[in-house]
């Protein structure tokens, strides 16, 4: 049986780049899939790949996949209770309606008892949240009367009212929706729209070892670069596969490793790895030409011409692939050795 291994000098970076660059030019062109039933909308295709590759801090659709702790994963009622604790509740989600008087700075919120009971929130806690915002509150039956403390103009009052209605009163901040779904083996799990790993881990009933988020930067801050690296590779893989393309995982893992090389997730663009290369020429040929030359001059930088771009630039053979091989003995040295040998004989 033949021993299989990659050849030394192989330009694996280029192959990896081609492996996502080539399919991405065809992406979205093949859009013909019917939308799924799941109510959690995920960014897919090229836009998602761009998000990952740029290491965006705020992806368009952060999503979490939360498994339940052992023992309750098949109990729908219990899982639903966990869901309630996770989904963020705002004041506006607890009211039937409201009236506002901008002139006098008064607003009345009509509480929805049913919803309050559902989220296990009482009027007191709602009122304390509103008071903390800077308004006086008064409870009258099912109605909370609110008066803005500060005398403001109409526009500012209106904004304050909208802000009050948007105040979070329960659940985990940043989680807009939480949906209970069932896996094939009957276990329930929760998919969320919005991501907050830290918050979710504090909830009882959550499998703390299997909480997953697709927000790479958040993963890095929470679990470190290694976890971020795995997430990058995994997310790239799943987005490419979802578009109907296949790519070997090694290419994506190389991209992920490159992005995490500096100990923190860096994008691939001019502010990321492409802008942090050793060579002045390679950076200048990529983007921000003048900036790189100017800085190089100030700091007396030296370009050692060890990369691909700079060698193409000056017209030398590129140091990867077959250009990776070098002579161990220089031609001149060889002559010396030969003459020495002769002399010895």
């Amino acid at each position: 049986m033949k021993e299989f291994s990659i050849q030394s000098g192989e330009a694996v970076g280029v192959v990896a780049a081609e492996s996502i660059g080539e399919p991405s030019t065809q992406m979205l062109l093949r859009v013909f899939h019917s939308a799924g039933i799941s109510s959690a909308v995920v960014t897919t295709g090229l836009p998602r790949i761009l998000e990952i590759i740029d290491a965006r801090k705020n992806p368009k659709s952060p999503i979490m996949h939360i498994n339940m702790a052992k023992g309750i994963e098949k109990n729908y009622e219990k899982v639903r209770e966990v869901r309630k604790k996770i989904e963020e509740v705002k004041v506006s989600g607890l009211i039937k309606g409201f009236t506002e008087n901008l002139k006098s700075g008064l607003m009345e919120l009509e509480l929805d008892r049913e919803k309050m009971a559902q989220h296990e929130i009482n009027a007191r806690s709602v009122m304390s949240k509103i008071e903390a915002f800077g308004a006086d509150t008064e409870l009258e039956g099912d109605t909370i009367k609110i008066k803005i403390k500060k005398k403001e103009n109409l526009k500012a009052t209106r904004i304050s009212f909208v802000n009050i209605r948007g105040l979070p009163v329960g659940g985990i901040p940043g989680i807009d929706k939480a949906i209970v779904e069932q896996a094939e083996d009957g276990a329930f799990f929760i998919t969320t729209v919005g991501s907050n790993i830290k918050g979710v881990l504090d909830i009882e009933g959550v499998d703390k070892e299997k909480a997953y988020s697709n927000n790479i930067v958040e993963i890095m801050n929470m679990y470190g670069v290694e976890a971020a690296r795995n997430t990058i590779a995994r997310e790239l893989y799943s987005t490419i596969t979802a578009e109907g393309f296949t790519t070997n995982f090694r290419h994506l893992s190389l991209i992920a490793d490159a992005m995490c090389f500096y100990g923190a997730v860096k994008g691939v663009g001019r502010h990321g790895i492409a802008g942090l290369k050793e060579s002045v020429f390679a950076r200048a040929a990529f983007e921000e030409t003048v900036k790189h030359f100017v800085n190089a001059a100030i700091f007396s930088e030296r370009d050692n011409l060890r990369g691909v771009a700079e060698n193409i630039l000056i017209g030398k053979q590129v140091p990867v692939g077959t250009g990776f091989v070098k002579l161990a003995v220089k031609k001149d040295d060889l002559k010396k050795i030969k003459s020495k040998d002769k002399a010895n004989k």
Partner: protein, 836 residues
């Protein structure tokens, strides 16, 4: 051979003294030519700076326009000006230093600490700043050295500096910066040997040689100067005016104005896109292209001229398919073969055949002879005999391209490595390049007018490398996912389906003709009543020791000792972008060359079958029986009923909202799902009712062409049309088109099309379909530039990565990216081959 090689390039700031040292001429006259049309001495195109017109001699080196490399000159600026690109650096240095004693605003103890930090950094080896950016050093309000309270420093883009309200003029800047001691400069992270802060303020301006900014003579005989020359003339004019005014004792205000104007011209000379500075324009109001613009961007020096290499020995024309070629061949028109040459080395062993070649006066002939001394002589009818006599080992001849020469073949966009492959030349008549259809896939080429490029590698090393690494046979499996890039497609799959199907028999004559198509001249064992089964014919292609057992959607496929026992060979076994286990296993067991040959033989054989049996589609295939049409009506009315039901529930508030959605959103989601799934319901229904007799269905089933969804849309209904991934909902108030009722809930009012392509659409449906098409056309246009830019960024970030001798991945600086490539040190193909 590289005679000399560059090991590295160091960047520095040019000092005023260095400028004077480099300079061959001090330029004083702000003009170009005199009345006689000769360059003025001391003008911007002083002949000491080199010459561009033929017939003139450089006054520095005596060379002509061709031999003189050009020489720098300089302008002495009467008043210093700030170099605009360095202004930010100046600001940061000013911020970090005392405005009185000009020491670093850092206490002695801190200095000591910084010094040791920097020393440690240097000790780690060669200092490498890796795109270091300047940082302001944390500064005190009071200078720790002289105790002076610091005044507020202000920087006004692009080149103005203020202390409180007082402007710091550039000469004061020079003064300040030059008083910063060397050791403090070092603490700022700079090397005082090659950088002094005061050099950032210009006192001398380096003037590039004239061949950097050649003037062109228009047809009218009028001279047109380069943008840089224009700018230099203006700088010198203001400089001179300033000098005269100062000498004449003109009021300070006027001098300051002129000074500022000088600063403006110098700023735009370096970068005409400096933010906050009005753009300098040519007489024709076109913005001037100055130094920064020359370097920058796609059309700039770096990307266009330095990275963008141009080549000789190349050709380009339209491509056309040629089934008689081999996959690794390329058909080259005679006309191209006559022009492209390849060096032939004369040795003592081949001298006779080389002489024979040189003596020829038509097509495969020699165009040039290069003597041992390296003198190139063009072969003509006149000197041919003379050269023949002269020819000796060590000579090199440029001979015309011949059959079986190795050339590189490429189609743009060159998105992946298989977009350039090495083919063997086959010289053919005609005016087009030809290639085998199987090679079409990696290039993503078709024959509707595509052009392709041909390159002839000249050195033997290059030819060998191309042959060994870039041959199509070595590229059958994609480096991306290991699936075949070159395999059976379309008609070939149809042929294979008929050949390897169950209970298919051919008579002796047909069997013989099928087999001879793939160069097999033996007969398989005859089956019952002298007929030959298709499977046994196919098995003739397989090596006798070949075994395979794979599951495909068409059932189990079993090959035992080179005999296809069971199953149909479909696209899943030997198609492109599929797992294609048959091909992969052959590749693994018998190598790339055998696999290519195998592909070619299968191709010929399957096409022979397809030609023999014939295969066509007709309008009749698109005619559905009444039962199917009834099914269609049922699917549509079911969906519509479902939607009505949902709307009813919604209106009576019985619809339960999906978590996190409002009821209105929930309704939209559910209705969308119900309407969109009609298409897949219909295709499932069709797959059940249609037989192999329907050739359109057959093609879709075996993966030859089209899919079942196409069939649904042509014969049944188009289904839901989407705009931005949603049902159309905008247009007129409360409706998409004015012919619908306001707020209509009818699926048709939101883009549900119930007609098929065959029937033709009703007008509102046509409109909806148009909206959907437009939407996808627009999004397609956006994909190409965005994905192109993404690709460029990823490639730029990773192009230096290579595998070292220990299977580790490193970048250009030797930094470790992966400890073992891909976690196992294997490449994609190997991983898949191992599994096979």
């Amino acid at each position: 051979m590289q005679a000399e090689s560059i090991d590295g390039i160091k960047f520095m700031v040019v000092s005023p003294a260095e400028i004077k040292r480099i300079s061959v001429a001090k330029l004083i006259i702000p003009d170009t030519y005199n009345e006689d049309g000769y360059p003025i001495d001391g003008g911007v195109i002083d002949q000491r700076l080199g010459v561009v017109d033929p017939g003139f001699r450089c006054k520095t080196c005596g060379g002509s326009a061709k031999t003189c490399p050009g020489h720098f000159g300089h302008i002495e600026l009467i008043r210093p000006v700030v170099h605009p690109e360095f202004a930010k650096a100046v600001y940061l240095i000013l911020q970090s230093t005392c405005d009185k004693c000009h020491r670093l605003l850092v206490s002695d103890e801190q200095m000591e600490k910084m010094r040791s930090e920097i020393a440690a950094e240097f000790e780690e080896g060669e200092q490498n700043s890796r795109g270091q950016t300047q940082k302001k050093i944390k500064t005190a309000n009071k200078c720790p050295h002289c105790g002076a309270k610091q005044r507020k420093l202000k920087f006004e883009r692009p080149t103005m500096f203020y202390l409180d309200q007082d402007r710091i003029k550039p000469d004061e800047l020079t003064d300040w910066l030059s008083k910063i001691p060397d050791e403090d400069v070092r603490l700022l992270g700079m090397d005082p040997k090659s950088f002094r802060p005061e050099w950032l303020v210009l006192t001398n301006l380096l003037v590039p040689p004239v061949n950097v900014r050649p003037s062109i003579t228009l047809e009218t005989g009028e001279r047109s100067e380069d943008d840089l020359t224009h700018k230099l003339v203006e700088i010198m004019r203001i400089n001179k005016k300033l000098e005269q005014d100062i000498d004449a004792g003109t009021p300070q205000i006027i001098i300051d104005d002129l000074w500022e104007l000088l600063q403006y011209h110098v700023t735009t000379y370096f970068n005409n896109e400096t933010p906050g500075v009005p753009v300098a324009r040519h007489r024709t109001s076109r913005p001037l292209k100055t130094l920064a613009q020359r370097l920058k961007g796609k059309e700039g020096r770096l990307r266009y001229n330095l990275s963008g290499k141009r080549v000789n020995f190349s050709a380009r024309t339209v491509i056309v398919a040629d089934g008689s070629l081999n996959v690794d061949q390329v058909g080259v028109p005679r006309k191209i073969a006559e022009v492209l040459t390849i060096p032939a080395y004369v040795t003592q062993w081949n001298i006779d055949s080389m002489k024979a070649l040189l003596s020829r006066a038509e097509y495969p002939m020699v165009l040039n002879v290069i003597t041992k001394e390296g003198i190139r002589k063009r072969v003509t009818d006149v000197n041919r005999q003379e050269l023949l006599g002269e020819l000796a080992p060590g000579y090199i001849m440029d001979r015309q391209l011949q059959d079986n020469d190795i050339v590189l073949f490429n189609r743009q966009p060159t998105l992946h490595r298989v977009s350039i492959m090495a083919h063997r030349v086959k010289v053919l008549p005609g005016r087009v390049l030809r290639l085998h259809v199987a090679a079409t896939n990696p290039y993503n080429a078709d024959f509707d007018g595509d052009d392709m490029n041909l390159h002839v590698p000249q050195s033997l090393e290059a030819q060998a490398e191309a042959k060994v690494l870039m041959a199509p046979s070595k590229q059958i499996l994609s480096p991306r996912d290991g699936t075949p890039l070159m395999a059976m497609e379309e008609d070939e799959l149809v042929g294979l389906y008929y050949l390897t199907g169950e209970d298919i028999y051919f008579n002796k004559e047909d069997t013989a003709s099928i087999l001879s198509a793939s160069q097999i001249f033996e007969m398989p064992d005859a089956g019952k009543n002298g007929m030959y089964s298709g499977k046994s014919i196919f098995s003739m292609l397989l090596p006798k020791d070949f075994n395979l057992e794979v599951k495909s959607p068409e059932g189990l496929v079993v090959i035992k000792s080179g005999d296809l026992v069971k199953g149909i060979i479909s696209s899943d076994l030997i198609g492109t972008f599929k797992n294609s286990m048959l091909l992969v296993k052959i590749y693994k067991d018998y190598g790339p060359d055998f696999a290519t040959d195998f592909l070619l033989k299968i191709s010929k054989m399957s096409l022979a079958v397809a030609y023999l049996l014939g295969f066509t589609i007709s309008l009749g295939d698109y005619h559905n029986p009444e039962s199917v049409n009834k099914e269609k009506e049922k699917i549509i009315s079911d969906a519509k009923a479902k939607v009505r039901e949902m709307i009813k529930n919604y209106k009576s508030n019985k619809l339960e909202a999906l978590p996190g959605n409002t009821k209105r959103e929930t309704l939209e989601v559910l209705v969308g799902v119900a309407l969109r799934e009609t298409r897949s319901i219909a295709s499932k229904m069709l797959q059940k009712t249609l037989t192999d007799k329907n050739h359109v269905n057959l093609m879709a089933k075996i993966g030859a062409r089209g899919n079942i969804l196409n069939f649904v849309q042509t014969t049944l209904f188009l289904g839901q049309q989407d705009v931005r991934g949603k049902r159309p909902s905008r247009g007129y108030s409360g409706r998409v088109l004015p012919l619908f009722k306001k707020g209509s809930n009818d699926p048709a009012a939101h883009g549900f099309v119930t007609s098929s392509f065959i029937e033709g659409m009703k007008l509102p449906e046509y409109y909806m379909h148009g909206m959907g098409s437009r939407d996808s056309a627009v999004s397609k246009q956006l994909v190409v530039p965005t994905s192109g830019y993404m690709y460029r960024r990823v490639l730029n970030a990773m192009q230096d990565f290579y595998v070292d001798t220990n299977l580790r991945v490193r970048d250009a600086s030797g930094a470790l990216i992966q400890t073992i490539y891909g976690g196992d040190g294997k490449d994609t193909m190997d991983e898949l081959l191992e599994k096979a």
